[in-house]
Symmetry: C2
Subunit: 229 residues, 2 copies
């Protein structure tokens, strides 16, 4: 990583950005649940970050909180949207129109329509199955994979989402890179390699399940302890 | 939160548990990519946690690392599996056999078969659509939702996974709670409420996309800066 430079926006460390996105998710949920304020302690509890680190992260961007009252949910959410530049649309292509690819597309279309600050938009799907080519998923067309190199610049897409089986993931990643994609989210259950100029994120569908399983076992042991078993 | 007590296993703070699960995901990926060692700095980069906090979290559980060499990937992964009690199977029911529910089930069946340390197992699906009842998804049957209260104890399920549309999520959560479920993962894009005795996790399919979008925009601005635009 380079040192902080005089760039037109504050250069935020990757680790901080990641936490800001997680705070934002909680704030979005709280706002939708009509909550008006949230304390750094509550934000910490709901995100798994320590309260001190929450306060430190948010202090970076100015004085958001009021001692004893906490943060104004809507205001803090709007500030994080601005800091994270969520007003700029990012267009994505998704490769692999199986059940996961279709589920993600439907989720994305709904989310993009409902949430004016949600900025990632899936604009085309790709698959190799001739039976799927030409089908529309909530208004988004499935194209043959061989058209990827042509469609990506035509549609102005800069993000690629991989939802193919593990064995095909690397080849699809290579084709996305060749098509000029700047960043990839990999949902395939296998690691992929991309050149350093391409940003890569790995998504894991089972993270929350595994975490919940631990919490449940831990609570059960506590109950068994408490009941003297 | 209660204070640390003399319980038969170390009582780990929620925030630490959450990070351990995230470390474990990275270690699993590294192990599958044939990596033998990882430094706290690399683990920090790949998880968004600070290197100092990575070292502090892992030091809690003994001396895993070697200065200048880093951690042995396979050993650290195995230790985290033990700490997180991933050897105990947790049975889950999934409500909502739409594209997301089916994708999660297929992923889960494969993951459970391939990864001997993966401990969450989907054992039944539920839906209200008569056309889906009785169908099998990779060997897992879809039951009518009205049988939930009967099937949950019969199958020994303790976790519920919600993949229904937003409008139905709270009702399904209530039925899962009534059926005796101890923990819920909510994939529906709406907040739900459960009694304090039920553990709740919210899954967000767009977290990685949103994070990647930020990284991509940040890199682009850096490139434009560098090229003097």
């Amino acid at each position: 990583m380079k040192e902080v430079m005089a760039v037109p926006w504050p250069k935020i460390a990757d680790a901080v950005v990641r936490r800001l996105v997680i705070y934002l998710r909680v704030l979005d949920r709280e706002a939708r649940a009509q909550e008006r304020t949230i304390s750094s302690y509550q934000l910490a509890q709901k995100t798994g970050v320590s309260p001190a680190l929450v306060r430190k992260d948010l202090a970076w961007f100015g004085e958001f909180g009021t001692r004893g009252v906490g943060y104004d949910v809507a205001y803090l959410r709007d500030q994080l949207h601005k800091i994270l530049r969520l007003e700029q649309e990012v267009r994505a292509v998704l490769v692999g129109a199986g059940s996961l690819g279709i589920a993600l597309t439907r989720y994305n279309v709904r989310r993009y329509a409902d949430d004016p600050t949600f900025n990632v938009r899936i604009v085309a799907l790709f698959d190799t199955d001739p039976g799927k080519i030409g089908l529309m998923i909530d208004g988004i067309e499935i194209f043959p994979l061989r058209l990827l190199g042509e469609k990506v610049p035509e549609l102005g897409a800069t993000m690629g989402i991989i939802t193919v089986p593990a064995y095909a993931a690397q080849q699809v990643a290579d084709e996305l890179v060749k098509a000029g994609i700047e960043g990839i989210v990999n949902f395939a259950p296998t690691p992929i390699h991309v050149p350093p100029r391409v940003a890569l994120q790995t998504a894991d569908l089972s993270l929350e399940m595994q975490y919940l399983a631990y919490i449940m076992m831990s609570r059960r042991e506590e109950r068994e302890e408490a009941s003297g078993r």
